[in-house]
C-alpha cells in the first residue's frame, strides 16, 4: 500500500528514526571501507592479468615462493581497517539495544500466523496490523509471538527483531518524521510469510492523541433498521465471534481485534485496501486471497446479503 512512503517505502536507506539513522550511518561507513578494499583488490587483479599475460618469447617467471614482509603487511592492513569498523559497531550495538527512557510509549507486539497484534498496555487499547506512534517521543516495542517465529521489521524506522514464542525482544526508536511507513515480517513463518505485512503510522502528538481517543471509545453502535445493524446480527450468530473481539459484542482472541476495524486503511495484514469490495471477498473466502489463512471459509457459506450486511457493519466500526 502506498501512503506517503515515496518510491521505495520499505527502503533501509531513508531512515526516519534515530534507530534507523544509527544503523544507516554504520552501514555507510562499512560500505566505503568495503568499496575501497574492492577497488584495490580488483585493480591489482586486472593489472596482474594484463601486465603478466603470456607473450611469446617471455622469459620463464622467477619462481618466487613468497615474501614475509608482504604477508605481514596484508595481515595487518585488514586488521587495522576492521578496528575502524569494530569500534563504531560495538558503540552502535549498545546504543540500539532496545533501552528506552521511562516516559517511552510502550507497545507489546505479538506476531501471529499471519498478522500483527499491537497492545498499548498503558492506554489499554488493542489494535492490529497498523501501529500508531507519536512523533518525537521514544517508543519501546516488546516483541513476542503467539505461534512460530516471526520478525518485526519496519525498515524506515529501524532494524528487525525476531518475535519468538516464550521470549520478549525489545527495540526502541524515536520517529523523526510524520508519515505512513510500511514493513513486513522478515522471518520465514509458513505459507503466507510474504503476506504478513504491517504499517507504522507516525502521527503528530495531537494526531496520536485523537487516534488514541477514538480507539479507546467503544465500538460504534449501528442505527436501528440499518444494514449495519443487520450486519451486527449476522456477526453475532456466525463463527466470527469465536476468533474476533469487538468490545461488548464478542470476546474472541485468535484473530485481529475488530472494535475499530473501520478506522484502519488496510485488511488482511496490509494486503488489501479496506474497502467494501475487498472486505466482501475476504469474508467470503479469506484463504483464496491469502494462502493458508487461518480464517477459514464459512461453513455453510454466508449468503451475499449476509456478507453485504457484515461489510456495512465492519465499515461502520470507525
Amino acid at each position: 500500500m502506498s501512503g506517503c512512503g515515496g518510491p521505495f517505502p520499505q527502503s533501509t536507506l531513508q531512515p526516519h528514526s534515530d534507530f534507523a539513522r544509527a544503523t544507516d550511518v554504520l552501514f555507510t561507513d562499512i560500505f566505503w571501507w568495503a568499496a575501497g578494499v574492492f577497488l584495490v583488490v580488483e585493480t591489482l587483479l586486472v593489472v596482474a592479468l594484463i601486465r603478466f599475460r603470456h607473450r611469446e618469447g617471455r622469459a620463464a617467471p622467477k619462481p618466487t615462493h613468497g615474501h614475509t614482509l608482504m604477508e605481514i603487511a596484508w595481515t595487518l592492513a585488514p586488521a587495522a581497517i576492521l578496528v575502524f569498523v569494530a569500534v563504531p559497531t560495538v558503540r552502535t550495538i549498545f546504543a540500539t539495544a532496545g533501552e528506552a527512557p521511562a516516559d517511552a510509549l510502550k507497545v507489546d507486539v505479538i506476531g501471529h500466523q499471519w498478522w500483527w497484534e499491537f497492545r498499548y498496555p498503558e492506554l489499554g487499547l488493542v489494535t492490529a496490523n497498523e501501529l500508531h506512534v507519536p512523533l518525537g517521543r521514544a517508543v519501546q516495542l516488546s516483541i513476542t509471538s503467539a505461534d512460530v517465529i516471526h520478525a518485526f521489521w519496519a525498515p524506515p524506522l529501524g532494524g528487525k527483531r525476531d518475535a519468538i514464542p516464550g521470549h520478549v525482544n525489545r527495540i526502541a526508536f524515536r520517529a523523526s518524521d510524520v508519515g505512513d511507513y510500511s514493513g513486513q515480517c522478515a522471518e520465514f513463518c509458513g505459507a503466507s510469510h510474504a503476506n504478513m505485512r504491517l504499517r507504522v503510522v507516525v502521527d503528530s502528538d495531537s494526531g496520536f492523541g485523537r487516534w488514541a481517543t477514538v480507539q479507546l471509545a467503544g465500538p460504534a453502535a449501528p442505527g436501528p433498521g440499518t444494514v449495519a445493524e443487520r450486519g451486527r446480527a449476522v456477526y453475532s450468530r456466525s463463527a466470527c465471534i469465536g476468533c474476533h473481539t469487538i468490545r461488548g459484542v464478542s470476546p474472541g482472541v485468535i484473530g485481529p481485534n475488530l472494535t475499530h476495524v473501520g478506522s484502519r486503511t488496510t485488511i488482511g495484514s496490509g494486503l488489501f485496501p479496506n474497502d467494501s469490495a475487498h472486505l466482501a471477498r475476504w469474508i467470503a473466502d479469506a484463504p483464496a486471497l491469502k494462502p493458508g489463512s487461518l480464517m477459514m471459509r464459512m461453513q455453510p457459506p454466508l449468503t451475499d446479503a449476509d456478507i453485504a450486511a457484515l461489510v456495512a457493519y465492519l465499515e461502520s466500526l470507525k
Binding site: 533501509t12 596482474a48 603478466f52 618466487t64 559497531t89 528487525k160
Partner: protein, 602 residues
C-alpha cells in the same frame, strides 16, 4: 581406471576414480535440478504479484533449491574431486577404505533420491504431487517445523534426507582424513602436500566435527515430531532458539565445507597457469586451517536478530570480523601468485580468476553482516541472498568449474573445447552478476527473502526482472557447458598425461589413469615435484608399464547392500511403520557383516 565394463562393475566398484565419476555425474544431475528450481523461483519473482506457482509450491521450491545445492550439488561436486584427485595428488593407489568410500557414495545417492522423491510421492500421503516436498527452508527453523505447524510428511523427508546425507559425509570424512594422513607417497611431507589436498583435509575435519551437531539437532526434531518430546517447544520448557544455535553451530562451518575445497582448486590452477609457485604456500595453508578453526566461533552472527543481548552480539561481531583477515590474506596471496607470472588464459584460469574477483565481493558484503546493527537491516533480506550467492556461486561454483576444466582431461582422457569453455565462462560471469548484483539493492530497498510474492509499491520490480534475466543467462551458460561435455565425449582430442604443465603428481600418469594409478609409487623431494626449481630437478614420471604386477582389490556388493538399509529405515519414519525400521536395520547390519568378512580376493 579399471577395465571391467557393464552395470555390475559400476555397482560394485571400489575404485576411487570410478566413485569420483559417480559423484560427479550424480552431483551434476542434482545441480541441474537445483538450477531448474532456481529458475522457477526467478520467474515467479520476475514481477510483483507473480503467480506462476502457489505460495505452498514456492516454499517447497526455495527449500529444495537451497538444500539441493548445498547437500546434493556443491558438497558432492567437491567430493568428486576428493575422490578422483586426492589419491593421485598424494601418490596413492586408492583411498584408505575403498569399500567405505563406495558406501559413502551409495548413501549420498539414496539420500538425494529420498529428498527428491518428496516431489512425486504426494499421492502416497493423500496429497497431490508437488505437495509433500520439504517446505521449512534449508535452515528448517523450529518451531515452524514442529508437527503442530507442519503436520505433513514434508519436514520428515527433509530431516530424514539430511540425516542420511550426514552419514555419507561422516564416512567420507574419516576416510579422507586417514587417506591423507597415512597414504602419502615417500617424501610427501605435510608441508609438501598440494594445497587442494590440504584444504580437503581441513574440510574433512570440519565435516567430522560439524555433522554430529546437525545430526543431534535433527534427532531432537525427529523426537519432537514423532514421540512428543519438547526440545524446541516453549510449552514444556524447551526453546526454538536451541535449534538455531545447533543449526548454525553446524551451518557456519558448513559454509567453509563448501568454500575451502574451491579455494584449494584455485590454489592449484593459478600457479599452474601463471607458471609460478603459489605465493606464500605456508601462509595459504595456515590461513585455511585458521579459517577452519575460527569458523567454529562465529555461528551467532546468523542470529543477530534473535536478541542475544549486546555482549554476545559484540563478541560474535568481533570473531566474525576476525575471520576476514585469513580470508583476505588468501586473496592477496592469489594475486601475488599471478603477479610476475606468465599467465596462460585457459578456461580453467578464467574460472579461477573469476573466483578471486567474485569471492572478494561476497567477502566484503559479509563484513556488513558481521556488524550486528547493520545486519538488523540486512538479515533475512535479499541483501543476504546476494551476499551468499557471491560466496557460493561466485566462489564455490566458479572454483569448482575451474576444477572441472582443469582436471577434466585427467578424469575422462579427453580435452574440453577451450572456445566453448570461454563462452561458458563469460555467459556465466555476466549472468551471475546480472542475477545477483541487483539483489543487494533489492534487499536494501526492503524486500525480505523467502517471499513468494511482493507488492509493486516496493519499487523493486525492475531490479527483480534484471535478476531473472541473469538467472536465465546462467542457465544458457550451463547449456553451453553441457554442449562442451557432449562435444568432448564425441569429438574431444585425447588428453596427454599432462596437458597443462602441472607441478603435482596427478600429471605424471596417463589420462585417465590405470586402475593402479602409479606403475611405481613416486618418491617426492619437493613441493612442486614435476617442476624444476632452484633446489630441485623435475622428477621423472613413472614408467608407462608397471615393472612388477600390482595387486588391486576387487569390487564388492556389500557397501551398496548396507547403504540400502538406510532409506528403508527412513521409510519406516515416513510411514509410521515400526517393523520397517527393523527390516532396514537388518539389511544394514547384514551388509556390514558380509562386508567385514568378505574374502580378500585377488
Amino acid at each position: 581406471m579399471s577395465d571391467a565394463r557393464g552395470l555390475s562393475s559400476w555397482l560394485t566398484t571400489t575404485d576411487h576414480k570410478r566413485i569420483g565419476l559417480l559423484y560427479f555425474w550424480t552431483a551434476l544431475a542434482f545441480f541441474l535440478i537445483g538450477g531448474i528450481e532456481a529458475l522457477f523461483i526467478r520467474v515467479q519473482l520476475a514481477q510483483p504479484n507473480g503467480h506462476l506457482v502457489s505460495a505452498e509450491t514456492f516454499n517447497q521450491l526455495f527449500t529444495m533449491h537451497g538444500t539441493t545445492m548445498i547437500f546434493l550439488a556443491l558438497m558432492p561436486l567437491s567430493s568428486a574431486f576428493f575422490n578422483y584427485i586426492i589419491p593421485l595428488q598424494i601418490g596413492a593407489r586408492d583411498v584408505a577404505f575403498p569399500r567405505l568410500n563406495a558406501f559413502s557414495y551409495w548413501v549420498f545417492l539414496l539420500g538425494g533420491l529420498l529428498l527428491n522423491a518428496s516431489w512425486l510421492v504426494g499421492p502416497l500421503f493423500h496429497a497431490g504431487m508437488l505437495n509433500v516436498a520439504p517446505d521449512g527452508g534449508w535452515f528448517g527453523y523450529a518451531n515452524l517445523t514442529e508437527r503442530q505447524f507442519s503436520p505433513g510428511p514434508n519436514i520428515d523427508f527433509w530431516q530424514l534426507g539430511l540425516q542420511t546425507l550426514g552419514i555419507s559425509s561422516l564416512a567420507a570424512g574419516f576416510n579422507f582424513i586417514v587417506t591423507i594422513l597415512n597414504l602419502r607417497a615417500p617424501g610427501m611431507t605435510m608441508m609438501r602436500l598440494p594445497v587442494f589436498t590440504w584444504m580437503t583435509l581441513v574440510t574433512q575435519f570440519i565435516i567430522i566435527t560439524a555433522f554430529p551437531v546437525i545430526t543431534v539437532a535433527l534427532v531432537f526434531l525427529m523426537f519432537d515430531r514423532l514421540f512428543g518430546t519438547h526440545f524446541y517447544l516453549t510449552s514444556a520448557g524447551g526453546t526454538p532458539i536451541l535449534w538455531q544455535h545447533l543449526f548454525w553451530l553446524f551451518g557456519h562451518p558448513e559454509v567453509y565445507i563448501l568454500i575451502l575445497p574451491a579455494m584449494g582448486v584455485v590454489s592449484e590452477v593459478l600457479p599452474t597457469f601463471a607458471r609460478k609457485p603459489l605465493f606464500g604456500y605456508p601462509v595459504v595453508v595456515y590461513s585455511g586451517i585458521l579459517i577452519g578453526l575460527m569458523g567454529w566461533g562465529v555461528w551467532s552472527h546468523h542470529m543477530f536478530s534473535v536478541g542475544l543481548g549486546p555482549i554476545a552480539d559484540s563478541a560474535f561481531a568481533a570473531t566474525s570480523m576476525l575471520i576476514a583477515i585469513p580470508t583476505g590474506v588468501k586473496i592477496f596471496n592469489w594475486v601475488g601468485t599471478l603477479w610476475g607470472g606468465d599467465i596462460r588464459g585457459t578456461t580453467a584460469l578464467h574460472f579461477a580468476v573469476g573466483f578471486v574477483a567474485m569471492f572478494t565481493i561476497g567477502g566484503l558484503s559479509g563484513v556488513s553482516h558481521a556488524s550486528p546493527p547493520a545486519d538488523l537491516q540486512q538479515t533475512d533480506t535479499y541483501y543476504v541472498v546476494a551476499h551468499f550467492h557471491y560466496v557460493l556461486f561466485g566462489g564455490t561454483v566458479l572454483g569448482l568449474f575451474a576444477g572441472i576444466y582443469y582436471w577434466w582431461p585427467k578424469m575422462t582422457g579427453r580435452l574440453l573445447s577451450e572456445s566453448l569453455g570461454k563462452w561458458h565462462f563469460w555467459l556465466q560471469f555476466v549472468g551471475m552478476n546480472l542475477a545477483f548484483f541487483p539483489m543487494h539493492f533489492i534487499g536494501l530497498l526492503g524486500m525480505p527473502r523467502r517471499v513468494y510474492t511482493y507488492a509493486p509499491e516496493l519499487g523493486v520490480g525492475g531490479l527483480n526482472l534484471a535478476s531473472t534475466v541473469g538467472a536465465f543467462l546462467i542457465a544458457v551458460s550451463i547449456l553451453v557447458f553441457l554442449l562442451n561435455v557432449w562435444h568432448s565425449a564425441r569429438h574431444g582430442r585425447a588428453a596427454p598425461n599432462d596437458p597443462w604443465g602441472g607441478a603435482t603428481l596427478e600429471w605424471s600418469i596417463p589420462s585417465p589413469p590405470p586402475a593402479y594409478n602409479f606403475s611405481v609409487i613416486p618418491t617426492v623431494t619437493s613441493r612442486l615435484p614435476r617442476w624444476k626449481t632452484e633446489h630441485h630437478e623435475a622428477m621423472r614420471d613413472p614408467p608407462a608399464t608397471p615393472p612388477a604386477p600390482i595387486h588391486m582389490p576387487g569390487g564388492s556388493w556389500w557397501p551398496l547392500v548396507a547403504a540400502c538399509g538406510l532409506p528403508v529405515m527412513a521409510l519406516s519414519v515416513l510411514t509410521h511403520t515400526l517393523w520397517l525400521v527393523f527390516a532396514g536395520a537388518a539389511i544394514l547390519i547384514f551388509g556390514i557383516y558380509r562386508w567385514a568378512f568378505e574374502p580378500f580376493e585377488v
